[in-house]
Structures are given as C-alpha cells and as structure tokens.
C-alpha cells in the first residue's frame, strides 16, 4: 500500500529535502525521464540507478518527488508499490490546485482508465454536488481531466485523466466512440472483412468450366464454387485480423482478436457470414432473403391483415390490394 498518495502529505515540510539535497531529487527525476513516458518503476529498478545511497534515502527522494507532484505512486497488480513520472507542467498545474481540486484529481488519477463516476467522487470527497461540479469544471478547463460516457450506463458521467483512453469496459472497445457505435467504422471494416472472406472461400469459375473450349465465350458467365479446402482452413478471427492489421486499413484504433470476433458474430447475424466451424467463417453464397408463398400474396404484407374478416368492411372481395395484385399478375403473363 503506498500511503503517500492516499494521504495528502504536508506540502511545506522542508525537512526531507534538507536531508537528501535537491540535486539528488532532480537527478532521480532526470534519470527516470530517460525511460519512455508512462513507465512504471519498481523500487529495485530505482535503486539500481545508483542515485540514492540507501533505501531510506531513496524512499525519501521518492517521497519528495511525490510531494512535488513530479511522481505518483501506485500499486502493481501484485501489490508491489511502483512509481510513475509526471511531466513538470503537470506537476505545476497540480501545485496550483486548490485542495478540493487536488483531492478530486487524485481520485480520478487513481482510477486510471477505468474512470470514476461523478457521484462516487462527490460521495468520497464529501463535497456538495454544486461544489463537486464546480471543481470538476475547473479541472476540465485546465485540461487535466475529461468527462466521458459509459457505454453500459449512458446517463452516468465518468471522469478520466485528460490523456488516458477509457478502458474498453466503459468505452466499448474500438467499435465505439463516446459511447456510441461508430457505424461508419463498422460499415467500412465489415465490408473489408466480407470481401476478404469471400475471396478466400469462394472461387469464381465460368459456368460450364468443363465444356469444350469453343463453348466458353470471351466473357463467360461466372459463378461461385466453394474452394477446395477443409473447413479448419477457412478464415478465422485470427487470420482476418491479420489481414486487416497488415493492410493498415485502420489507423486510429487497435482491434484485438476478441473485438474481431465480436464483429464476425454480428456479421453472422446479418447473414453476411456463415459459421463453418467453431472458429472459421465463409460468406453466404447468396445472402438475399427469399420470398415465400405467404408474403408473395397480397395478405402477406397487408397492413389491415388482422382487421380483415369473412364479412364486414374489409374482406377479400372488397379488397383493393387483391385487385392490384391480380392486375399485376395478369400483366406479367
């Protein structure tokens, strides 16, 4: 448990600084800054930088950096404490915050990309709704946090650090933007997928491919035949994803296999894809809906079907739809 981040340390205490010296603090900060932004440092790593002379000193340095908002301490999933660097601008902004602002900010920060619900912030901070809103507004206008919509509960406002991507849990993965399905993206990707799968699973051959050569015209009529392969080799989420990633069709979003599976499932419901085995797909040879005897007849699509009776105002003899239908049939003949 890194208590430092939870309990606000007294910001004006100069004693720790005095004992370790300002240069070492900066040295540790610069050393850490060499690593890519957002790197998590565990204690062993920091110790190996050979800046602090002892563990005690290292901890004091870290405490100092934390106090100055240049670092934040976290906990890894196994409970091990770790630290992440903040930029100097960020630290500056934090330093200028009011106590309430800092409190909420830290709670939002702690939640990372899971975000926190505004109501939870209010409850935990023990502020009035008005005050909470005001503080959050202020943080938003400083460009530190942002509000997002949770896809699961659209009327719940969630707060998140400005430059974090909300977790798929709340944002709904690559197919959603701001809690809404990105229909244009889905449309584009599903078309790519369909085209790819069609090419992989069906082959266009001339009708009558086994006739005498002179029978095959210049531009023979083509039809699809299933490709000669076992169903395990049909396209799967994995191979389709590889095609999409390697083709660099989508730049902004990262699609994982799970999300690809989600799309393929949806396309199966559309009837555009058909499941061949637990993991593989093909396109439908002809995904159009057929008709049937009922819907071809006038009553099958009649808006007053339920009102129509053997006698009364609406009957088969008085029905205009029928007359129309009969006339149309007569014309066809």
């Amino acid at each position: 448990m890194p208590p430092e981040s939870k309990t606000e340390p007294p910001p004006d205490d100069e004693s720790a600084l005095a004992s370790v010296g300002p240069s070492k603090v900066d040295a540790l900060y610069s050393k850490c800054a060499e690593a890519p932004q957002g790197t998590f440092f565990i204690q062993r790593e920091l110790a190996s930088m050979q800046i602090a002379e002892s563990t005690g000193q290292l901890l004091a340095l870290l405490q100092e950096l934390t106090d100055r908002h240049l670092m934040k301490s976290l906990e890894l999933h196994d409970g091990q404490p770790c630290w992440v660097l903040r930029t100097r601008e960020e630290a500056e902004k934090l330093r200028q915050m009011s106590a309430d602002e800092r409190l909420l900010y830290q709670m939002i920060d702690d939640a990372q990309n899971d975000g926190v619900w505004s109501k939870a912030l209010r409850a935990r901070a023990g502020l009035t709704p008005q005050r909470t809103n005001k503080v959050l507004k202020a943080l938003e206008s400083k460009g530190l946090v942002k509000a997002i919509t949770n896809v699961k509960v659209p009327n719940k406002k969630m707060y998140l650090l400005k430059d974090l991507e909300p977790s798929p849990e709340i944002a709904g993965g690559p197919w959603q933007t701001d809690g809404e399905y990105d229909l244009a993206l889905i449309h584009a990707v599903s078309n790519l997928v369909e085209k790819y799968v069609r090419e992989k699973t069906w082959k266009q051959v001339p009708v009558g491919m086994n006739r005498l050569p002179q029978d095959i015209e210049e531009n023979p009529r083509m039809h699809s035949v299933p490709r000669n392969m076992s169903i395990q080799l049909y396209p799967s989420a994995k191979s389709i994803l590889r095609y999409i990633t390697e083709g660099q069709f989508i730049k902004e979003k990262r699609i994982t296999e799970g999300y690809m599976e989600e799309l393929l499932d949806m396309m199966t419901l559309d009837g555009r894809l058909e499941k061949m085995s637990a993991t593989t797909y093909r396109t439908a040879r002809d995904s159009s809906f057929g008709m049937n005897g009922f819907v071809e007849a006038p009553c099958g699509t009649c808006p007053v079907f339920d009102l129509c009776g053997n006698e009364g105002e609406i009957t088969a003899s008085t029905c205009a739809y029928f007359t129309e239908w009969i006339d149309a049939r007569a014309e066809d003949r």
């Binding site: 419901l269 005897g293 009922f294």
Partner: protein, 695 residues
Amino acid sequence: MPPLQRDPPILQELCILLVNDQYGELASKVFSVLCRTGRSTLAALARASYLTGKQIKHGLVTLIQQHLIFHYAADPRVTFYEIDWQQAYSLLRYGRMASMIEHRYGKKASNILLNLVTFGHASVADLNNAYFPPPDTDSDNESEDGEANGSTLPKAAAYVANHSLHSLTNGDGPMTNSGSKTNGAKKENTFLPNNNVANSSVNNKAKRVSDTNASHDHEMADAEEDENNIRTIAELHELIHLLMLNGWIVRVNAAHYLSPGDTHEIARQEILEEEYHGNMPTGTKDKDNLVGQVARRKRRIRDEALAAPHCQSRKRKREDRELDRSSKRLKTMGVDQWTPRNHPGPQDDETLVVRVNMEKLSVAMRTEHLVRLVEKRLSKVTAKIYEAMLWTLEYNQPRCYEPWPDPYVRPDPAAATYVDPSLLITAKDIVKILSRHLDLCEGLDPEAVLEVVPGHRIEEKGNIAPPIKPFDIPFKQRLQLIEKHIWQLSFDPFNFVTWHSSLNGKCTEWHIEYDKIAKTMIQREVDNTIGTRADKLGVKLVRALKKKGRLDEMEMGEAMMMNPNDIRAIVSDLAMKGFVQTQEIPKVDRRESKLSWHLAWFDLQRTREKLLHDTYKGMVRLMQRLAFEKEQVKELLAKAERSDVVGNEDKYLSPGEREALKRFQGVEEALWVQLGREDELVAILRDFVGPFVSV
C-alpha cells in the same frame, strides 16, 4: 346458433372451402356441421343442423369415401364421426402428388394416382375398369380407354370421378345431384392450373439439370412420349405394386378410419388389459412405462395398416430401386426385374382396396425443398447429387417424423451415434442412378476436380482443358467426384448431410439429420417472412435473440453493434407483428418506462404457429377471392360450360365474353398457383418436424 359464436378456427374455415370446392355444397355443409360439433354421432349431427338425416348420410358417404372423416363404433350401435384434418387439408395437394410421382416414376404412375384420388379409395378391380372398361359398357369405350391413358388425363380422371360419385350419391335431393354432376369436371378445372404449374416447375428443373447433360437424354425422352400409355392390365398392376412398395399408396385398413384420439384410446385399453390387468398403474415408473407402451402400440397399429402386402419384397436391395424420372429406365431397370414373375403380386387380388398415402407426399415435398435449397446455397450439380441421395433414402421413409415417439430417455453415448442402417447412404448407392451425362465436375473447385482426374489443367479463364468428358470418367473417379460434392453438403452450415463413417476400403457413409435441417428451414422461412414484412434489421434482431435468449436493449445493442436507441423501434415493430415477445421489468418499485428493463425474446415454436396460422388465413382469403371472382362471371361460366358451347366458343361467345373468360382463367390460375406456394410454406412449417401444430 349462439349469438356470439366466434369465427371457426382458421384451418376449419380453409378445409370447408376446400371441401366445398371439390365435393360441392352438401358435402361441405355436412363437413362444416361436423367442424362445429367435433366428434359426434349421426343423431347429434342432425340435431346441430337443418339438414335432413338423409342429406347428412349422403354427405357423410362422400366424406368417408374420400377419407375426410374418421368413424369409429366402440359400441356397434353408435358410430362416431370426426374430421380428419390432415386429409381434408390434403385436398390441396393431390395435383402436387401427381407431379411428384410423375417426376419419380413417370407419367403412367402419376396417371394411376390421379385416378385413385378421384375415387378416394378404390379396389384394384375399379382401377382395372377405369383403364380397361369391360366390353359390355357404352359404345364409346374405345376412346375412353385411350383417354384414361393418354395425356388428356383430366378427362380420364373426370370420368372416374363421375363414375364413383354417381354410384355414391345417386338420385338424391337437388343439391346432391347438381353437386355430383359438376364435381368431376370442376375438380379437374381447379387442379389443372395447380398441376400444370407443378409440372412445369418440375420440367424446368429437369431442363436446368440436363443443361449440363448431353442432348442425348432429350432424345430419349422424346421417344418415350409415345410410351406413356398403360397398355396391359399386367403393366397397370406392376405400377400399382411399385407405388405400394414405395409407400405412395397403401391398402385401406380399418385402422385408417380411426381418429388419433380413438387410436390412442384403443391402444391404451389394449395395453392396460394385457399388461396391467385392466387397472391403471399407480407407480411413477409404471406410468412412464405405459406412455412408451402405448406409443409403441399405436405405431404397431399404424404400421400394420400401412404395410404393403407381399412383405418379403419390401427388403429389396437398394440398387434395384427405381429413381429415375424417365419411364424408359423404369422399363429397363425396373418393374420387370423386381416383380418376380412366379410370385403373384398383391395387386393380382382384385378385391384389394387401396388409397393414397399423404404422409409420403410430405417426405417428397421435403426432398424438393432441400434440393432447391442446395441449388441456391451450393450448386445445381451438387443439388442433383443430393436429390439422388434423398430419393434413395425416401424408400425407407414412410413419413417425415414419428408423431408417436418413445418417451425421451437420455441416450447413452454409445446409442447416440447409432443410425438405422437403412438410413445410411454412400456415393456408391447413388452413382448408378445419376445420369452418366451429368457433368460431375461442375459446381466443384476445378482444383478439386484435378485432384481426382489428373492429366488436365486449369486455363486462365478458369476452365478445365482439355475438358473431361463426363461419360468417360472411370467408375472410381466418378465416386470420388461425387464424394467431393457430398463433402460440400456436409460442410455447409445447414449440414445437409452428416458424416457417419469412413471404414477402410469402404465408401464413406453418410446420413441426414432431417429434424435439425427441418428446424433450420423453419427458421429460414421465419427470416424470409420478417425480411419482407419488416426489414433486414428485424431479421438480425430475431437472430440475435435466437442465439442469445432473453436480452435487454443494451445487450441487443451489443449483439447487433448498434446503439440501443435505434433498436427500440425495431423491437416494438416486431413485437406488434407478433414475431418477438417483450416484457418490461421495473428496476424500482414504481412502474415507469424509463426506469425499467425492456426485455425481448424470440420463441421459434410460437412464431412457427403464428406464421402457420397467418398462412392458413392467407389461403382462406385466396379461396374467398376466387369465389368472388367466380361469382362475377357466373353466368358467363355457365354459358361457356354448356355442351353446345364447348368447342364452339368462337361461334357462341362474343369477343367481349371470350376476353372476360380469358381474364377469369388467368385470375383463377394465379390464385391457385399462389395457394400452391402457400401450401409449400405450410409443409415447411407443419409437416417436416414435430411436434405437430394444430391451429
């Protein structure tokens, strides 16, 4: 009649219209009284109607002769009558049945069927007389003979129909007389368009498939045209035998007159007497046993009634079976060989009374649907191969599904993989019955073809060079090509065939999971209906619900990858049309739409019943419209049917009248064609897989 009597259920309405159309007013009146009263005695019928006892009796005779009602006398003094809904509905299907039989066994066989249908049931002697009238009848029997055989089939059937109705309803009240007079002719009129269409679609199909064949087949077919007449009594009997062996016609048995309820009661009583000393068992286990025993007994009663006499010949080898539509083949590889000459066939017993078996037609309709589906989903040649498989298997399938199955027990794993050997099939079983001119390469990936037939190459355009001559492909390679098609059938998500075994050195064995496919077919028709009545998104939603069960708006959105707000409208549209069910569950203790979960789900069985009901209703409207259209031109029709006018239309009818007549015939045909199409849907929804739904 009570003032607030509700509309009769829709199937009753449809059947009354059909009976009226086929057998006239009296029969349909009696029929509709019986609809109203349910299972009743003659006396009860008389009480429930304004008809005289005599009229009712005559109506009943027609209905019984046509097997439209069951009758049963538990006590010899009281007979109960009850409607046979299946048979009554089947009035619509006789034309289809004839065309299916023609497709399988040629014109001669279908001709017999049509004659039989007009009789209702008939003894072999009756059929003999229909085809070969005894010399002491009317002077014009020469021509009648020719017609019974020839392509002017309706007239032959009409002749038979008049004959039979005459003997049944001779000399009754005015209603009956007029009914019986016009019946025969009318019947043929109404079936004709239906039949023609069925035929033409069959022909088209035959043509389509034979596109890939050499023209050879056509020449053969032409030569056969002249051979469509049944020439001898022996030939007639052989064909009757053929149809009996394949279950299209069956011997009339007392059990055929028992309604399902009576059959059940009889079977139950018998079992109680035999196994439980007449007492109702008390233990749960015994009670369960009883259910199974009764089902088994019912099956036994039925199967005994259906068994073709001459049982030993039923187990002929599969390869002997007659599956080709060409009657040439019927002659060369069929009839003569499998009716042993020294064995008197059952049909030689002229007193044998036979009727058509409509259950068999459902099997054939299922075959036809499946073949069409494969044609759409895979290829025509694959469909042709599937058709051969299905036809071969039809032989051992008297019906689509068992309505009286054993009570469900969890199958033990060893038994679960068991398949009745008579329902297994291999490429070898069908290779002989496929035309050698059928290009088995078509519909396959050319690379797959070259794996089997080496020495050819694929050209840039995708064609095989040099072409492989279908006729010259060696037997083994033919088998392999057929198997390639069968594999495609099994890969398809419909699972048209299921792999069973590939034993070393033997052909791969396959079987067909009809029930599963039938359910998929129902789903497909539901999809088609929703696709037309609502839209694509509606279908998508239903599929999502089918896959995932009960969902709230959020979850529907996730499955369809759509925003929940856009889904709400689709759900309410589908709910209104009765395709999905919805439920609102409040999250708080107030009932407020905003604070509730909106759940939706899809119930296939329920939708199936609703769609079936709607389809029946659509058919009723078609029949009603037909009656209306007929009424409009009633006088003209009467004039056109006058004996002096028939054949001299140009002389007696004005151009306007001829035009009106032509229009009416067009309308009549369009309506009957549509009825046939709706009937196809009914078959999918109702006949291919249990539980039987009665609406």
